[in-house]
């Protein structure tokens, strides 16, 4: 992911400007990160308006706390982390009102998320998304962040507040299960998508 790296450099520079009170640099960061963060919020919260609110809330809060935050190694991971915490709080809030059933955030994959170039794609897409949704929640989140949003394992560890090795283990388990579950999908198809 060479782009992601360049983007990261760019964000770090913008963040330095933000620290000096540059709102335009902040707009730049927002422009780059909003789509990614919004998607993540939507995946966790499952409602467009609530997701949009969560992202806005995070951006506003970080702006006011920027002095205490100081320099950042990884701006993107920092925003992801803040958003995840915001989403968890919001879920807790909605649950206490009994609007949502209790439990952890649960990312849901839809068939349209799965990229397939073959015939009968629809059927296979829905089968794969079913597989994914059956994975344990934390494994699902790792899969989402690593392969859907293409974050690095280091970033994911930071976001999910677990150590690097645990993320690797979660990913390993998820991928093994995934490969296992996909056992009866033709081998040629798997090969086609391995790399």
């Amino acid at each position: 992911m060479p782009d992601a790296y360049e983007q990261g450099e760019d964000l770090t520079r913008s963040w330095q400007l933000v620290l000096q009170g540059d709102a335009r640099a902040y707009a730049g960061i927002h422009g780059q990160l909003h789509p990614v963060l919004y998607r993540y919020a939507l995946a966790m919260l499952g409602n467009e308006d609530v997701a949009q609110d969560a992202v806005q809330e995070v951006f506003i809060r970080i702006w006011y706390k920027k002095e205490t935050i100081g320099l950042l190694q990884n701006v993107r991971a920092f925003f992801f982390t803040a958003l995840r915490r915001q989403a968890l709080n919001q879920l807790r809030g909605l649950r206490s009102l009994q609007i949502l059933p209790p439990g952890e955030p649960d990312i849901e994959f839809s068939p349209e998320d799965i990229l397939i170039e073959q015939e009968h794609a629809a059927e296979r897409q829905s089968r794969i998304s079913q597989y994914l949704n059956q994975l344990p929640r934390r494994q699902k989140e790792v899969i989402y962040l690593r392969f859907y949003e293409e974050l690095s394992y280091t970033e994911i560890a930071e976001i999910m507040k677990v150590n690097y090795q645990s993320v690797i283990n979660l990913a390993h388990k998820a991928l093994t299960q995934l490969r296992g579950m996909m056992g009866h999908i033709p081998l040629w198809w798997l090969l086609l998508h391995l790399f």
Binding site: A23, D53, Q56, F59, I60, G93, Q98, I99, A171
Partner: protein, 291 residues
């Protein structure tokens, strides 16, 4: 970024994802909201800190003396209450600058102060139209309308809540609303209307959002509306009891829009539409066939 050749790397995924595109307008709209929030507070923050410091210096010595009085006032009336008389419509501006239009014969109770760590809550009896401001950046982003039957939780929307007889109706004009009835939860989108009655609640879709809370302009919109319902409106909003002398009037239904600023205009409009005679006697409206 980790080196992909590290042996512990679990490898690439056997599937590939197609990311959902986020519409540009969504990002723009988000930034607009954030921009207003961060530029509005900028000057306010500094001012607030100064005011706080001043306030502390002046008020601290007085605090001990005031504590008793404050304690008393909190216990006795921590709630502020707004009430409208029959036929009266009132506009209330809440501490967060949300606007509530209170229809006739309704009561809205709000805490004198909202705890910033909790949701903003109000209690309603009657009918009101809410224009709730978003509260980004603050802890109490959520706004909840409590009624006897339901709770309506929102983040920043325009909607109407109406209690008429045993039925509570919530109509959504803008934004999104989560409605909790005793046993059911509804996620509403604009144009949705949910009617909650004891043991049954139903959702109507695609209501004309233009007509929601049209009562603020003294407009009444009827669609195949029964006399029973009209009687109920007249009783709750104007305090007049409707008496029907000829049974055939009971079977009439009304469709159409009426404009009426008070009960006199309403009864005149109704008598013309229904082709009946309406007489006012004390606190009664008597509906009868034309002589």
């Amino acid at each position: 970024m980790e080196d992909p050749s590290v042996p512990q790397d679990p490898g690439s995924s056997p599937i590939r994802f197609r990311r959902k595109a986020v519409p540009e307008e969504k990002t723009k709209e988000s930034w607009q909201q954030i921009e207003t929030a961060i530029s509005r507070k900028k000057s306010g923050m500094v001012r607030r800190i100064v005011i706080r410091a001043l306030a502390a210096a002046v008020l601290l010595p007085l605090l001990g003396y005031a504590a008793y009085n404050i304690y008393c006032s909190i216990v006795s009336d921590s709630m502020k209450s707004y009430h409208t008389a029959y036929g009266e419509i009132k506009q209330v501006v809440l501490p967060d600058s949300s606007i509530v239009y209170l229809n006739a014969n309704s009561t809205l109770r709000i805490p004198v102060e909202w705890n910033p760590a909790e949701s903003r809550s109000v209690w309603l009896d009657g009918e009101a139209y809410f224009e709730i401001t978003k509260k980004p950046g603050a802890g109490n982003a959520q706004f909840i309308v409590h009624t006897a039957e339901i709770d309506v939780a929102v983040l920043g929307t325009k909607f109407n809540v109406n209690m008429l007889g045993a039925r509570t109706t919530v109509s959504l004009k803008e934004g999104k609303v989560q409605l909790t009835a005793s046993d059911k939860v509804f996620m509403m989108k604009p144009g949705d209307e949910v009617q909650v009655e004891k043991h049954q609640s139903k959702l109507r879709e695609a209501v004309n959002t233009e007509l929601i809370a049209d009562w603020r302009n003294h407009r009444y919109h009827f669609e195949n509306t029964s006399i029973a319902e009209i009687s109920s409106i007249i009783l709750t909003k104007f305090g007049y009891e409707v008496v029907i002398l000829n049974d055939e009037i009971n079977h009439k239904k009304i469709s159409g829009d009426l404009y009426a600023e008070d009960i006199t205009q309403l009864s005149r409009a109704l008598s013309i539409t229904m082709n009946i005679q309406i007489e006012t006697k004390d606190d009664q409206l008597v509906f009868k066939n034309k002589e």
